[in-house]
């Protein structure tokens, strides 16, 4: 009986307890609730093309990816430009007196259980006097956390997520991108390229930036590419880190920027009308220690070889002719003159096996011959005086 009861209870528990799945903590945030199939950008941000006075109704999905229940605030915020020209959003404490004022959310906060999501509807109305071109705002999402204790020394950090809301008011749209600057500096073992472009148009431009480092022969050393939005009427700046070339020398950094030049296509739409602009800079890179040693060694070796070749030419030009006799070889002639046999070989272009033919005329170093003549003369003078 006891066994039956235990078995029964076991079967009950196994059958009734739902399976548990592990929750991966991916934070609190949101995404567009109704992305459009015709515009892939709408998967990640809100993209609209609206005439002045028009309204659109949409929704944002709030997500609690944590394992704790959260009170989540959602609010519109005006767009702003952060350092380097990147898109950013005003704080909750800031006034909503620009594009944020176009957005009305049905709710300001929701209670989300762990690993759950919920849609919040909103309407967006473009004012009748809105200017032609692109306007940007944000929908910000933030979990309510306990306020940090005051008087605690230092910076207290909080976090939020935001989704860009891009509204294009149709009309005379202009697209123009220019290079503002390209600077390259050496930093530790890196080359840091700072690229700045300026969007003179009235819509943002998804810009593909390719920055390439190549040597003087045009051979590519390294390339970094990426597509970045450059907001209307803004300057955007990007830092690209390259590995410092080992061998050093003169290098060329070339940056090209390509964007959709089709005045009729809006954000996220592809077009074959692409325009490319470019900028370049030349930079000298000091080689690293071992490469520098190899470079110096190479230069010294080449200089030595050139010097030896030149010296052989000069000696040959200024040398004295000599007819090879029976029994002569390079070593015996060199020994008499007091010079190295390889010098005589180089002067006369004699290659291995370095054989001399009797009767052949070769050139000998003039100085060595003069020295030899002086020696002989001194010897014979000494002999004469000894005889006398």
């Amino acid at each position: 009986m006891r066994i039956t009861l235990v078995a029964t209870l076991f079967a009950f528990l196994v059958g009734m307890v739902p399976p548990v799945f592990a929750v991966e903590n991916s934070g609190v945030g949101g995404k567009p609730a109704n992305p459009r199939n015709d515009n892939p950008r709408s998967q990640s941000i809100f993209v609209y093309e609206l005439e002045p006075g028009k309204t659109v109704q949409d929704a944002v999905t709030l997500i609690n990816g944590t394992d704790q229940p959260k009170t989540v605030e959602v609010y519109p915020a005006d767009g702003q430009i952060a350092s380097g020209g990147a898109f950013a959003c005003d704080q909750k404490a800031d006034k909503r007196d620009q594009e944020a004022a176009w957005i009305t959310l049905d709710k300001e906060s929701v209670e989300l259980p762990p690993a759950s999501e919920q849609k919040v509807d909103f309407t967006l109305t473009v004012p009748k006097d809105a200017s032609v071109g692109e306007h940007n705002a944000c929908i910000a999402i933030q979990a309510v956390e306990a306020p940090a204790a005051s008087g605690v020394n230092g910076v207290q950090l909080s976090f939020r997520s935001a989704i860009r809301v891009a509204v294009t008011v149709p009309g005379k749209l202009s697209k123009e991108l220019v290079y503002d600057s390209l600077n390259v500096k050496r930093q530790d073992h890196k080359l840091l390229a700072n690229v700045a472009v300026r969007n003179n148009g009235n819509v943002s431009l998804d810009t593909t930036l390719d920055t390439k480092v190549s040597n003087l022969l045009g051979m590519k050393v390294e390339t970094i590419s990426g597509e970045y939005p450059v907001l209307a009427h803004q300057r955007a700046e990007f830092n690209f880190e390259f590995k410092k070339p080992v061998w050093g020398g003169v290098y060329r950094v070339v940056s090209t920027a390509t964007y959709n030049d089709d005045q009729g296509s809006s954000l996220g739409e592809k077009s074959d009308n692409r325009k490319t602009i470019r900028s370049s800079k030349t930079v000298f890179v000091v080689p690293n220690a071992s490469a520098l040693a190899a470079d110096v060694g190479f230069v010294v070796l080449v200089a030595l070889l050139v010097w030896r070749w030149q010296r052989a030419k000069v000696l040959h030009r200024k040398g004295k002719s000599y007819t090879v006799k029976d029994g002569d070889n390079l070593q015996s002639i060199a020994r008499v003159l007091g010079v190295r046999w390889k010098l005589i070989a180089r002067m006369n272009g004699i290659k291995a096996p370095y054989v001399l033919k009797p009767g052949e005329t070769i050139r000998l170093p003039q100085k060595a011959i003069k020295k030899l003549a002086a020696k002989k003369s001194a010897k014979s003078t000494t002999k004469k005086s000894t005889k006398e």
């Binding site: 029964t8 009950f12 934070g27 941000i45 952060a82 910076v155 989704i163 990007f238």
Partner: protein
């Protein structure tokens, strides 16, 4: 079988029925389906085990009272992101065309460093002075002081199976400047960056100019980090 035995067996059968009722019987040709939806772009301070750090903060170096402005090499410094408090950013296929991570004062551009009693203040975004931040400028408050943030001095590390830091660039050194630079970019991810990505930033530097004769006390400034899908 006795009545008691019957009762026990009946009860057991009842329980078994409940247990079996909670169980689904698969048909001969059923398909199992599983939906995996994308999560949300988010940032947080996590420790080395990826556990959220309570009350995340960034301490700045303590400075002694001075009759002179303490700036540049003498400024109060700290780091955003450390080995034990990593500044994590997670993109679980939420932002497919790039994202940014920026930092700004939670209270907006007019907020200031404040002591516990909110009786003493100094600024974080006033660029005025021969040495920027040493003089109170034309803003509405009567405080000097400026923070410079340099994400480029930090180290970005990818932290997931196949993701890389390619196409995620660190922001240049920038100082807060009221009305001009109210947000400082820490990271900028291109459209070609991994759609599924997790990584962390450590060692981004903070440098705060301390105005001359600033009253000794503990001061706090609240900053918000925003991850924005582009």
């Amino acid at each position: 079988m006795t009545k008691t035995g019957l009762l026990k067996k009946g009860t057991a059968l009842l329980f078994l029925t409940f247990a079996m009722g909670a169980t689904a019987f698969a048909a001969n040709n059923s398909n199992l389906t599983q939906s995996i939806t994308s999560g949300t772009l988010a940032a947080d301070i996590l420790d080395a085990s990826r556990v959220a750090v309570g009350s995340p903060s960034a301490a700045l170096s303590s400075k002694t009272f001075s009759f002179d402005c303490q700036h540049t090499g003498n400024a109060s410094t700290g780091a955003l992101g450390s080995a034990s408090q990593r500044l994590y950013i997670m993109n679980p296929d939420a932002a497919d065309n790039g994202w940014t991570l920026s930092i700004a004062a939670t209270g907006g551009a007019t907020t200031r460093w404040a002591n516990g009693g909110a009786t003493q203040f100094f600024d974080f975004n006033d660029p005025t002075g021969t040495n920027p931040g040493c003089t109170d400028g034309g803003d509405a408050d009567n405080s000097a002081g400026q923070i410079t943030v340099d994400a480029n001095a930090g180290t970005l590390t990818a932290d997931c199976g196949s993701c890389v830091t390619t196409n995620v660039t660190k922001g240049s050194s920038a100082a807060f400047n009221q009305g001009t630079t109210d947000s400082v970019t820490l990271l900028n991810a291109a459209a070609a960056s991994n759609d599924i990505w997790r990584g962390y930033l450590t060692g981004a530097t903070l440098s705060q100019t301390i105005p001359a004769e600033q009253v000794p006390d503990n001061y706090t400034l609240n900053l918000t980090l925003t991850s924005t899908a582009l």
